[in-house]
Every structure is written in C-alpha cells, then in structure tokens.
Symmetry: C2
Subunit: 358 residues, 2 copies
Amino acid sequence: MTIEIKIEHTTNKKEKPASMDGVVFGTQFTDHMFILDYDAGQGWHDARIVPYQPIMMDPAAKVFHYGQTIFEGLKAYATEDGRVLMFRPTKNIERLNISNERMSIPEVDPELALEALRQLILTDREWIPEGEGNSLYVRPFVIATEPTLGVSPSRQYKFMIILSPVGAYYAEGINPVKIFVESKYVRAVPGGVGMAKTAGNYAAGLKAQEGATELGYSQVLWLDGVHRKYIEEVGSMNVFFKINGIVVTPALNGSILSGITRDSIIQLLKHWDIPVEERILSIDELEEAHKEGKLEEAFGTGTAAVISPMGELNWQGEKMVINEGKTGELSAKLYETLTGIQKGVAEDPFGWTLEVKA
Amino acid sequence: MTIEIKIEHTTNKKEKPASMDGVVFGTQFTDHMFILDYDAGQGWHDARIVPYQPIMMDPAAKVFHYGQTIFEGLKAYATEDGRVLMFRPTKNIERLNISNERMSIPEVDPELALEALRQLILTDREWIPEGEGNSLYVRPFVIATEPTLGVSPSRQYKFMIILSPVGAYYAEGINPVKIFVESKYVRAVPGGVGMAKTAGNYAAGLKAQEGATELGYSQVLWLDGVHRKYIEEVGSMNVFFKINGIVVTPALNGSILSGITRDSIIQLLKHWDIPVEERILSIDELEEAHKEGKLEEAFGTGTAAVISPMGELNWQGEKMVINEGKTGELSAKLYETLTGIQKGVAEDPFGWTLEVKA
C-alpha cells in the first residue's frame, strides 16, 4: 500500500529552544504539522504536511459549539545512538479510533495515521530534544469543522498532528505530589464518554483542579459518579496503589480512560511476577489500608509524566501520607524501566518501541 | 455607562434566502458577527462587530483539545408592526455566566453582552425573516484560544455572537414526535457539567441520538446516570409530562440544563393556576401512569422548537402512546401563548420581551 502525503517545507524555520530547562509543557511547536480533511461522501482526503500555521475556522464550526473532537498524546524519543523511537504508536492509533467511534467521528485509516506520524516526525527530526527526560510530544487530534448549528455529527472534519518538544517532567528528579480526593465534582460516569479521549472530559475537570490548586494540592483523585466512593483516575492520569504487596488499579468500567502507560505498567508487573489486580477499589478500602500500614505506594500513570508518585491523599480533611511522602521503590523501578525502554537504553522485551526511519 | 463597540460594515452583502421554506436550521449566517477578546491580565477588550468571516485559530488552541467553551441560544423576532423583539435575553446572559463559572472561563460583563446583542441584531436587522414561525437565531459563545497543551484554564478567549435566520421549526404545523428512552448511554451526572451549556454535553449525546434515529425515533429521553431511572431531558430540551392533571418536570439537580423556555412554561402554568411540580420523576412512574391512562401529555421545551410534543415513548421495547399520538390541548395552548408573546401578538404579562431599538 502506498500512502501519499504531500510535504510543503517551511521557508522560515523557527528558532529551537537552546535548552529544555524551564520550557513549559506544550508551549513550543515545531516547524510543520500534518493535516487530513474529511468530507461526507468523499471520505478522508488530501493528506499533507505543511508549515505549522493557524487554520481558518468558520465561527459556526461544530467543534466550537458541540465539542465533537478527540485527541491522542504520545512521545518520540532521540536515543543516545542517534535513532528516533516512538512508544507503542499503534496503541494510540487504536484508541484514536475507539474515541472516534464513541464520538460519532469517522474512523481514520490506521496505516495512514502511522505513516503520518512517521513522516511528520522525520520532517521535524531536528526538533527532538536530546538529553535525559526530554522528548517530542506528539498530539494527533480530530475536530468537527462543518459550519452548521444543528446538533448532529459533523459532515466535515480535520485530522491533524502537531509536535511539541518537551523537557523532563521532573526537572529535579521524580518527586511525589500531594493529591486532593474530590468529593464534590465528578469527571465521568459509565454510559458517558469517560473512556473516550475527548475534549469535554478535560473541560469537565478544570473546576475541581482549580479548587485543589488553591488548597495546595497538585491534582484531584476522582471518585466514581454513581457511588461516589470508587477510585477512577488522578487528574488526567490512571492510578495505581500498592496495598500489602499487591498492585491494584481500577478496572476499565467505561468511565476510565484505557491508558497506554497503564497497560504497559500492568504488563511489566506481570513480567516481574508482581501481583497486579484490575478491580473496583473504594476510598474506604484505601483509608483502611492506610490505617493498617498496608498502603505502601501510590502513583499516577500517563504519557506526560510516565509515573507520578503520590505522597499524600487528602480525603475530606484526613491526610493520608504514603511511604513517608517519598517515592516508593516499585514506583521508581517502574519509572526507570519504562523511560529506559522509551529512550532505547533498557531492554524492550515487549517490542514496544518502533524506530522511525527515513 | 458607555460601551464602545466598533462596527466595521461589510462591503460585500450576502444574498438572503428568498423564503425560509426548506432552509435547514443553523446553516445560513448573516453579514456580521460580534467579537470580544480576552487576555489574562488585560481582561475582555476590543468589542467589535465585523463582517462574518472565518477566524484564524492556532491548532494548539485549548478549545480543540480540552473543550473549554460555552454557548447560548436565543431568538430575535420581527413583529407584524415592524418592531424587533428579543425574548428574555438577560436570562441567557445570566446563564452564560453560570456556564462560564462552571467551566473556569472569566465572566462577561452582562451589560456589554446585552449591548452586543442589541447592536449586532440592529446591524443585521434586515436579515430577520418575517412570517409565522420565522426568527433570527442568536448564538453567543466563548472559546478558549490559548495555544498551549497544558490541561489548565486558558489565559485567552474569544466571546463571539453569530446570527442565523431560521424558519418555523414545524414546517407543517406542530406535530408530536416519537422518543426512544435511552438505557445504555448517559448524558450527564450530578457533580459533572450537565447544568452548564458547554460543548461536551452535546458531543456526549451524539451516539445515542444516532442509535435512536436508526430505529426511527426523533430524539432520546435521557435517564439519570446514577440510578438509571429518573427522567432528565429529551434530546437537548427540557421535558414536561401532564399526569392526571398535574404538570411534572424534573427538578434542577445539577445535571439538567436550567432552560429558559422551561422557566417560562412553569411561570405560565402557575399564572393559569395549573398545578406544576418540579421533582424527581422515574420512568417507572411514567409507565405506571400510562398503564392507568393518566399520562395525558408530554412535551420537550427549548429555544429552537419552543414546545415539541411527544406522541410515543419507547422504553425497552414497550411503546407508550401518549394522547393517541396527537398534540395535547395544553401543549398546543402553551405553544400558541409562548410564540404569541415572542412575536408580540399576545399579551406579555411578565415583561419577557425586550424591544431592540436603534
């Protein structure tokens, strides 16, 4: 299969950051972007890489009014020996289409999506920052562009990919954060769109996040919207707890995002013969485990941070300190192993990395 | 207070529809639009009316990725005696700011918003279609425009208003529609954003709507996301049932939109001494009332349709026909009265209409 992607190179290259120190996540973009158009009756067409630039949007475009949009997030890494690696990109493309299906957006050809990622990353190869913890954040997304106000699936879309060089998530090394257990606001509920990577889920979390920040907490821990007691996610990450030697993460129930880092962690734990359970987990069980000294470690997982240890949970004023507020042994080992695989310095027994070659 | 809105008139007027017959809702737009910008530290600034045109958006704009956006919908009417009326615009502006608050978007000055509505409608006065049932649909909305990928409230926004001439919702007179009671998908849940008029709520409803359409139904009736049995909304409208002489509508519980048509209906019913109750209402109660012959009328309420009678509810295969599938007496009276007030031909005891004067 030949996939034709036209490339228009920029004639006006931007200046790259001299160092990634102090560069805020997702604020710098590379020289090019990928665009693919969809029109009902015609399907997806006109795959192209063009200079990064603003797009013209009709003010009536459905994405502005009805939020029909999905996105993905993954990273490309420059290895010490000069190769470029993507981490499990086919999983992202698979999830992109799961999100598309849920949001009534037409499927994107997975082969074309992978080829688009490959060619765009190669085009902006020199933007991938070298050095420990640095990477190129890759953001594919689809937006509904039909300029009509009827509440119905759009008949026009754009699938785009933009790239952002990002620094180490932990500038001063991996460090636990304090988490506020949210009891007022809810992120998602089974039957809703919590399992899709769609914009509205993130907008829905902003208010709670602001409240947690005001109280000095980094993120909120979301409880389920039905019983208001089962753990769902932390901020926009999946979440794991080590309880009495067993690693527990909430089962995918339709309101939780099926994280690719989450899946990788589960596979790694199984590979290491460390017991891991995907099941329902209540805040009461965590509280009980903490009282008994059995809540040994807690961490969030996601593409941006990879592993984000949690040093404290505030549940209705009760502060549960975990592992004396320090990064746990298992959290650290998972972080080292996963980032090692991603950067091509550790063994990759699962074949997770894909080299991007010219 | 003087509010300065700069006006740039178009030099290239578009052709107006010769007749509103067959014009699909929200597909035609007028010659001008309103824009107001927001930048953190500066606040809202540069209120202006400009020719209707595409806007330039950075592909990283937060609205595309995290759905931070809200909107409103209201109508302006041309009366038979040549006046222009808006219907309860201050209620829309009030709700706009309630939505803004929930979605972590800065408040818009209500006086400026009203003045913007007024001046934009006057600028495009000749676009308001005359004739029974025709009106100018007014769509204010706010979008987050900051081009950064961190999940946090935007530091830049645009508040815009666009106008669309719309025809009678019922081209062949008011007619009941068939409704599918949704048991798989959920629109919203208390603690979420169901009470805000934000894009994600509408995206979340598309899949269920598609399923209902495939089965030959016009809309879905949403049940609550916690118990999966209490009535919430119908499609994107509020919903009312006349049961044994009493009109019942779901109470505002945090997951239901506080509709302005809903509020107007409740006030009209009270004015007429017809008993009306805002309370929880289960699908089981409706089923029971239907069996006993007490489910007398059912209708949705919203800006687009005003009143949309429901002639049949399909609940898990059981078809409940209401009022022999015909428009009920009360539904018809409410429709006549409300549209009469809106068009300036019926008495307006509540002072709901506001004349737009030069």
